[in-house]
């Protein structure tokens, strides 16, 4: 047993999983950095006073939320090429870009609905109280509404972010070499039982650690906002 941990096979597995995990992390952060602001833009679109813009946004959100992310990844990666538009460069970097774009769009749509709930959940009386006190719209947003909105969206955002941790594994559908793809390549090898169980085990450990840290950090933020109701 201990000799296994010291073996070169184990070292190979671990370093491969590490490489895969870095890819997973990259996808996670790229998605967050892209989807958090894009979601805000989409939420404004879905609350727009211009009806065609509102309908268009709501239709896109409905389509994205109503179909599986895997399907969106596959479509986004393969369909342009089939039509003769080779927008994704070849190899791993092209796969990563395609997958990241699919993730950002998908998560931005989910986030936009959460933001919309958060914005509309702040009572109009808050804004009116600010107006009557001579505040500008800008002051009202930054000094009054924003924090109340954040408080409302943190719990549902936490759920989505934990889901995102696990959803990153869907990227392997186009052979992006994230952590599961890396693990799987060993399972298909000829290391027998150990070759199957250990990669599975360590992959699970990576995800648990990752989602554990995310849960703790988001929980801290939620606690921080508990001082008011």
């Amino acid at each position: 047993m201990f000799s296994f941990f010291a073996s070169t096979e184990f070292q190979t597995v671990l370093s491969a999983l590490n490489t895969g995990f870095v890819k997973t992390l990259q996808l996670f952060f790229v998605t967050l950095v892209g989807a958090v602001p894009l979601g805000l833009v989409i939420s404004f679109g879905s609350m727009s006073r211009i009806p065609p813009l509102r309908w268009l946004t709501k239709t896109v959100v409905w389509m994205v939320r109503g179909t599986p992310l895997v399907l969106q990844i596959i479509a986004l990666y393969y369909v342009p090429g089939l039509k003769g538009f080779h927008i994704w460069s070849g190899g791993e970097s092209g796969r990563f870009t395609a997958v990241a774009v699919a993730f950002v769009i998908n998560y931005a749509c989910y986030f936009s609905e959460i933001y919309r709930g958060g914005i509309q959940g702040v009572p109009v009386g808050q804004q009116e109280a600010g107006l009557v006190l001579g505040m500008t719209k800008r002051q009202i947003f930054f000094k009054i509404t924003l924090l109340q909105m954040i408080k409302r969206i943190v719990p549902p955002m936490s759920n989505e972010i934990i889901t995102l941790v696990k959803d990153t594994s869907l990227a392997r559908v186009v052979a992006l070499q994230e952590v599961i793809w890396m693990g799987e390549s060993f399972m298909k090898g000829n290391q027998g039982y150990a070759g199957l169980v250990w990669p599975l085990f360590f992959t699970a450990v990576y995800y648990l650690a990752f989602s554990g840290i995310a849960t703790i950090l988001l929980g801290k933020l939620e606690k921080k906002l508990e001082y008011f109701h």
């Binding site: 009572p123 109280a129 107006l131 001579g134 500008t136």
Partner: protein, 255 residues
């Protein structure tokens, strides 16, 4: 000269006329009570004064200056509205305190923002004035509490201090005790009464008839968006002339 002059205000929401030909004036240091049944347009009138709604017709003057005239677009410039709002304060039925700020911060926030823009008072002076206002409301020991840690009556008193902090010319109250448990209305009414004794110019929408009669210098009875009767509170409330006023008041006969 009257501090506030309201002339022929009219307001529609879509096809429904909510206010028609509302005219009245208010002298400095006086309190005006507005009474009337639900849906008679009392809140809408206060919202018009505070520029939360825009009247379709009519004019509003403060201290002899026309601050709004529906027929004169130059009085409606968006950039001036903020400044004009400061003539009025508004205390809401459901307080609308800012939950993420303490009682004191609720009182000082707007004044700090204004001071930052215009220069003048420092943060300490504003905080000191805020504490004095809370003290005046009987809340000196609640300055650092958050709204959710306060009772309804205490929250409403913070809201009154918050409105007073900007030293409005005219302070408006929209049913300040309607959202309160009966045992908490007294503390809020006492505070408003003491403001009246200090000659604060006020407009008070209320269902507390005895309070309106005792505190106000003038009372207006509204029904269906019009002023049915106005005058000395003892006259209007104890000896109404109009049939509609009599009917309305009979519901409060034992109250």
């Amino acid at each position: 000269m009257a501090i506030l002059e309201v002339q022929h205000i009219e307001k529609h929401f879509g096809d429904t006329q909510v206010l028609s030909d509302i005219s009245f004036s208010l002298e400095e240091g006086q309190a005006l009570s507005i009474i009337g049944s639900s849906g008679s347009g009392k809140t809408t009138l206060l919202r018009c004064l505070n520029f939360l709604e825009r009247p379709d017709h009519g004019a509003i003057s403060v201290k002899g200056n026309v601050i709004f005239d529906a027929s004169d677009p130059s009085t409606q410039a968006e950039k001036d509205i903020r400044q004009k709002r400061l003539h009025f304060g508004l205390v809401f039925q459901n307080f609308n305190l800012f939950p993420q700020y303490t009682a004191l911060q609720n009182v000082t926030l707007a004044r700090e923002l204004l001071a930052k823009e215009r220069g003048g008072e420092g943060k300490e002076d504003i905080a000191k004035a805020g504490r004095e206002l809370l003290d005046q409301m009987g809340l000196a020991d609640r300055a650092d509490h958050y709204p959710h840690q306060l009772s309804g009556g205490q929250q409403q008193r913070v809201a009154i201090a918050r409105a007073l902090a900007l030293q409005p010319d005219i302070l408006c109250f929209d049913e300040p005790t309607s959202a309160l448990d009966p045992e908490l209305t007294g503390e809020v009414l006492r505070v408003i009464r003491s403001l009246a004794e200090q000659k604060t110019t006020m407009i008070i929408v209320t269902h507390e008839m005895a309070f309106a009669r005792d505190v106000a210098d003038q009372v207006i009875f509204m029904d269906g968006g019009v002023i049915v009767e106005q005058g000395d509170p003892r006259e209007v409330i104890d000896h109404p002339k109009e049939e509609r006023t009599k009917q309305f008041l009979s519901r409060y006969a034992n109250g």
